[in-house]
Symmetry: C2
Subunit: 257 residues, 2 copies
C-alpha cells in the first residue's frame, strides 16, 4: 500500500476523480481500457464479494487482464477505492423536495443514503478523515447542507448537525451491513448465533440477570418479538426511524432557540 502520497500524486488522483481528459495523441499502443472501466469492475467485485475480496487480481481477472496492468489506469489500490467511493456517491439524489419542510427532506435523504450504504457496504470502509474530494462526494455533501440551510441554523451548529447525521446514518448502516456479512461468511444465521451465545452466557454468568439488570430490561421491553435475534432487520429499521426522529427533534429544538 502507498505510504506517502506526495503532491504529484495528489494531482494525479484529483485529475482522475474530476475526469480531466488526456491531451493529444501519444506514441505506443492504444489503451484497451479506461480508468472508468477499472473502477466499474472493481465496484462489481466489491458489491458481490465484499471489500475483503477486492484485490487487484480479482478486478483484473474480471477484465481479462493481469493485476499489474491495472497500474496503467490507476495509481494503486487506495486510489482505486477513492474512485469507487466517489462514483457511488455520485449516484445519490442531488436535490430534495422542500415543500413539505426540511424535516421530511432530511428523512428522505437519510433513507436514500442508508439504502445506498446497504447496497454498497464497502463504502462505509472509506474513511471520512481527509475525505475524497471528488465531484460525487462533494455533491452529496452539498445536497445535505443545502437542505439543512433552510432550517436557518447558524453555521457552526449546522456543521455539527451534518456530522451528527452522517455519523449516525453510517453507524446504523454499518451494523446492518456487518450482520449481513457475518451471516453470509459464516453460514450461521443471527438466530443460531444468538442461541449458542445465550446458552453459553447462562452457563458462564449465572448472575447475569442481576449483574446486567438494565441491559436485560431493555432487551426484554424493547424487543417486540420474544426470543428473537437482536438484529432482526424489521426491528432495526424501526429503530433507525425512531433514532432519526429523536435527532431531528434536537434540531427542531435548536431552531426554536
Amino acid at each position: 500500500m502507498v505510504l506517502f502520497a506526495g503532491q504529484g500524486d495528489a494531482l494525479r488522483i484529483m485529475r482522475l476523480l474530476w475526469g480531466a481528459a488526456d491531451e493529444g495523441v501519444k506514441p505506443g499502443p492504444k489503451p484497451g481500457l479506461t480508468s472508468d472501466d477499472v473502477v466499474e469492475a472493481a465496484i462489481v467485485v466489491a458489491d458481490e464479494e465484499g471489500m475483503g475480496a477486492l484485490s487487484m487480481r480479482a478486478v483484473a481477472a474480471r477484465l481479462g487482464r493481469t493485476a499489474m496492468s491495472l497500474y496503467t489506469y490507476v495509481p494503486g489500490k487506495d486510489e482505486l477505492v477513492d474512485l469507487m467511493y466517489d462514483r457511488v456517491m455520485g449516484w445519490l439524489p442531488t436535490s430534495y423536495e422542500l415543500d413539505a419542510g426540511w424535516r421530511a427532506a432530511i428523512e428522505a435523504w437519510a433513507a436514500d443514503t442508508r439504502r445506498c450504504y446497504l447496497r454498497h457496504p464497502w463504502v462505509l470502509q472509506v474513511s471520512q478523515a481527509r475525505p475524497v474530494l471528488g465531484p460525487g462526494g462533494l455533491t452529496a455533501m452539498n445536497t445535505l447542507v443545502g437542505i439543512l440551510r433552510t432550517t436557518g441554523l447558524a453555521a457552526p451548529e449546522l456543521r455539527a448537525v451534518v456530522t451528527l447525521l452522517t455519523d449516525f446514518v453510517r453507524g446504523a448502516a454499518q451494523t446492518v451491513a456487518d450482520a449481513r456479512q457475518a451471516a453470509r461468511s459464516t453460514g450461521e444465521s443471527d438466530a443460531d448465533w444468538w442461541a449458542a451465545r445465550s446458552a453459553a452466557l447462562a452457563e458462564l454468568a449465572p448472575d447475569f440477570a442481576e449483574r446486567f439488570a438494565d441491559v436485560v430490561w431493555i432487551e426484554r421491553s424493547a424487543a417486540p418479538v420474544a426470543e428473537s435475534a437482536p438484529y432482526l432487520e424489521t426491528q432495526v429499521d424501526a429503530m433507525f426511524a425512531t433514532a432519526l426522529g429523536v435527532l431531528l427533534d434536537g434540531v427542531e429544538a435548536r431552531i426554536g432557540e
Copy 2:
C-alpha cells in the same frame, strides 16, 4: 481467518471472555504464558502501531515466542481481537453521578467513551453486529442504559437513543483517529494535505464556488480560523460538544412528550 465458528468455538471464546478457570492438573509442560498475557501484549502492539500492524507474529515477538505458539492460548486472531475489545471496554467507568441530572451524566459518559476510543483507536474496528458478549462490553452497555433509564423514556425509544449515542460517539472518534493515523503513516500534516488538494481543486474545478455553494458557505462560516485544515482538533472537539448537545436536546424533547 476463521470462516465458520461452530458451537464448540462459541463456548471456547465465551469461556475465555468470562475467565472460566481451567480444571485440575494436566500432563505435559506447564504453559509459560496465559491468554491474558497474550491479550495484554496484543493491546500494546495495537495501541502503539495500530490495528494494521497487529499480527500474530508481532504479538509473539513481543512475548519472545513464535506466532504459532499463540494458538495454544487463543483460538485465532479474530478471537484475540474480541478479547482485546472486551478488556478495554472493562476499563471504562461503571457508574456516573446522577445528582446533576441525566444530561450531565451522559455528557461525562460520552467524554470518557470518546477518550477511550482515541486512546485505543483499534477498538472502533470491532463490529457492533454480533457484539462481543464479554463482561467488559456488557458492563459498559449496562452503565449507559442505567443512566438513560432515569430519563423515564419508554424502552423502544430508549433503545433507539442508545444506538444513536453509540453510533455518534464511535463515528466522531473514528474521524479523529483516522486523521491522526493518516498524519502518522503518510508523514503529511493535515494542513499540507489540504493545501495540496485545494490547489488541485482550484485548477480542476474552477466553478467550485458556485457548484458547491452550500459546502463553501458552511466551511467559510463555521471555521473560526480561516485557511485552517478542516480537522483541526480543537475545532473538532467543539463540534463534538455541539452535536452531542443537539442530540440530547432531542432526548429532552421526547421526555416532555
